[in-house]
Symmetry: C2
Subunit: 494 residues, 2 copies
């Protein structure tokens, strides 16, 4: 049976991915400082083995032959995902992949250095070579997949996402936000004029914050027997579904950044822990893609973790762990703080999508050739002024040099962040439609309803559906920016 051969292939790839995931998480948390070079060498070799294993010449025969075998529903779905993975992995010639890896690594190294020095001039040629390579890549992917070049890039991250579908939705969101950000800011100003912001005491020991974080993780559904919380420089969710490694970093002068970060990573972790175990060694058993993954992290961080009802339940727990008493009226201005800023990763949920839309527009133009890298600082600055009223022209380090995505060759990824925010809001709306009192559950610290809703409709589906199909099946309609708009209006509007 050829399907059995694919099944065995899946087990081998799974073992290599297990190793790569744990080695990656270990590198950021427990590895000795001198272990980096050997670790990089081992991981590159294992990644190469995984790529060679997945793209071996006989695999396409197995896929073809398996399609003539009698398969059950799950196996048919599994075969479709094996085919998709194989096509996405084999559509670039090996020589190109090697050149790409070298170009990306060089450009990423150069970026780290140039960004620290705010030095656009040295960075520009490196980004030019990445962009020229990505144009070539997009062309090859487009031909293999029968898609437009930018769609072919997005297909790696969110299967089924197409510019034709998402661009109008993001355009609509942009128009709304350009008006709404000033509204939200003046609403905030008026509130703060009445009740000034209560300052944080500034003495939050790491060990107490960690205990609080663990209590919150467990409360929102993290299975503590199948994962852990560590410290790393950049917070992440890694590891494997049976042993999800989430990390945070602590500041002792405030506790909200770490706590909200942990809730965000816990959202990713719940998705991983909830994936169908019986398919865990098939591509079908993996999470669907970046937008859906982000919808799960944002669901926990924003829909649950910044919900006033959540804080009604959470404040006594915060007090128990940190020994500091807060009222709802004092904490919410911190939790719902809106601020225009240059840095995407520091942005709140109101301004964040404008950062993403700016990048989405610019990277489409870069791929199509409408925009050249040399014109990027001006183009970035012009949009930044228009969307957020801020200028970056003298500060490219906080403009087009701020993210690792482009220097590392990841184009087509940015939209996932904001699609995730919209999908989370749409899921929340669907839940509230059926369960109008769900927030009462939050106020009691009961998250089982929202978890079981997402477990059945999202987590257990693995990669059975394309991203748009999954959204529609879970929420009853295609992606609709209206829900996110209403969410923002309710939380930040008049």
């Amino acid at each position: 049976m050829s399907f059995e051969k694919l099944d065995t292939l899946g087990r081998r790839l799974q073992a290599l991915e297990h190793a790569l995931s744990i080695l990656g998480a270990d590198e950021a948390t427990h590895m000795a400082v001198g272990g980096g070079e050997a670790r990089a060498e081992a991981m590159a070799t294992l990644a190469g083995m995984a790529h060679r294993t997945a793209t071996a010449p006989e695999v396409s025969d197995w896929i073809e032959d398996a399609s003539n075998e009698t398969l059950n529903d799950d196996q048919c779905a599994a075969l479709r995902e094996f085919r998709r993975l194989h096509l996405n992995l084999t559509c670039l010639p090996p020589e190109f992949v090697e050149r790409q890896t070298r170009t990306r690594m060089r450009s990423e190294q150069l970026w780290r250095d140039a960004r620290a020095k705010n030095d656009w001039v040295s960075f520009q040629p490196a980004l030019e070579s990445v962009v020229s390579m990505v144009r070539e890549e997009a062309q090859m992917r487009a031909e293999a997949l029968g898609l437009s070049p930018y769609d072919a890039l997005m297909e790696q991250y969110d299967p089924g996402n197409r510019v034709a579908d998402i661009a109008p939705i993001l355009e609509e969101l942009k128009s709304f936000l350009i008006d709404f950000v000033p509204t939200a800011l003046s609403v905030q100003d008026e509130r703060l004029a009445k009740t000034p912001l209560r300052t944080l005491s500034g003495t939050y020991p790491v060990e107490k914050q960690r205990e609080l974080a663990l209590a919150m993780m467990a409360a929102v559904g993290f299975d503590m027997t199948r994962g852990s919380l560590s410290v790393s420089h950049h917070p992440f969710c890694g590891g494997v579904p049976t042993d999800v490694r989430i990390t945070t970093r602590y500041r002792t002068d405030e506790f909200l950044s770490s706590l909200m970060g942990v809730l965000h990573e816990t959202g990713h972790a719940l998705y991983e822990q909830g994936l169908p175990q019986e398919w865990s060694h098939w591509p079908l058993g993996k999470a669907r893609g970046m937008a859906i993954h982000e919808s799960q992290s944002l669901f926990v961080e924003k829909q649950i973790g910044r919900n006033p009802a959540f804080w009604r339940w959470a404040l006594p727990i915060v007090e128990r762990h940190l020994g500091e008493s807060w009222t709802i009226d004092d904490i919410l201005p911190h939790v719902h703080r809106v601020e225009r800023g240059l840095i995407r990763v520091d942005a709140d949920e109101v301004t964040y999508p404008l950062h993403v839309i700016l990048r989405f527009e610019l990277e489409q133009e870069l791929i199509s050739g409408q925009l050249e890298v040399s014109d990027l600082p001006e183009a970035w600055d012009a949009r930044m002024k228009c969307y957020l009223g801020l200028s970056t022209i003298d500060n490219p380090a906080d403009g087009p040099m701020q993210d690792v995505h482009w220097p590392s060759g990841a184009f087509g990824y940015f939209p996932s962040y904001t699609l995730g925010a919209m999908i989370a809001a749409q899921q929340w709306a669907a839940i509230e439609r059926d369960h109008p009192n769900v927030e009462d559950d939050f106020a009691r610290g009961d998250f089982e309803l929202v978890n079981s809703w997402r477990r059945d409709r999202i987590w257990k589906q693995g990669s059975r559906w394309s991203t748009p199909e999954l959204i529609e099946k879970a929420t009853g309609e295609p992606l609709n920016a209206e829900y996110f708009r209403r969410h923002l209006e309710r939380r930040y509007g008049r």
Copy 2:
């Protein structure tokens, strides 16, 4: 070039070994409790991939072809080790290896349960099937390697070790110890009659013991940038040479068991950290074998860590960390405590070799068929009475069921422990011959001389020499039990 193909093969095996080592260490230290099944599955698959990679049909052609290529000295040595590894891996048919893995796993599981219940009757059939399988294995290895069956088993752990060479040395040691143990015990009794044993205060916080352990590790030469100390249920030294993971466990009622354990594992770690980095992806670059590895751990634990000169330097450091002041005369009776006992892993350096020699004698008889498993409890008891004056006949859990080695099919391994103790003493004697005042260095906390001696003669040699060759090249003569005898007499005799 066929050698280049072997070089590439080495890099792949190295990456898989890196993954297996880190995954193994992670499992015992940081893995979530629910992660075990998926981890076992991933590690078994990766181990299978390593085995298949190392034994692929083309590898023997590469080895043959490479022997006709122009190679430098290091490459010739590397080729020899590639050949040895390949022969040791391919001399058993794959079907046998599978059957072996299943038999071992079943028997090990059964052993855990039966040992806890002191239930020899249920355990006996499982051990019988292991022994019958090991006899078969030894026969196949013997034919492939041109060795006697037991020598062929030892060859996996200590290349070059032969019963004809080590049996007379162990016999000589046994005769000495049967007389010497009572002497050492009465010397100890006389001393304790004069000065009673000072009791430990019994309040040693884990965090303080950990700081003390780290200080001692660094002092004796552990490179803190290329390794770390964690906690695990069973102490071990794992990881990779650039990131050596050592572990310990703490008791708060005393500090010596953890500290001496850390020194032991640090000895293993120094060997790993000192291996030749330029050969790290060849079998040539690995540690030579179990006896040499144990000689390095015992060198640090016994020759350094139980040396009175070491304690002259160490006591103020212990006081600084634990806040407790000890005199040399008070601490040495703890560090040099001798006691007859049933359990090998708890034994001191005087009685330990008798535990090993008993097993070495019995396992040779089991392999040759002179002894059957059903007669093992009586045979064990008879020797235990003769060597240590203790009986195990009513207590097989602390007799022939006490070690994991036999139930897991590891025969030919036990001698390594005592060979290691003898090799460590012989190294110490060689160093003292050239540097009669080396103990003065210890009293100042200076271990560079003993480390650089071992770095050049042992660590940097990797697997260039067989075990007996390495002993002779390093110390100037073949293995000689005299040095270990003198070491024990000096420390424990009249």
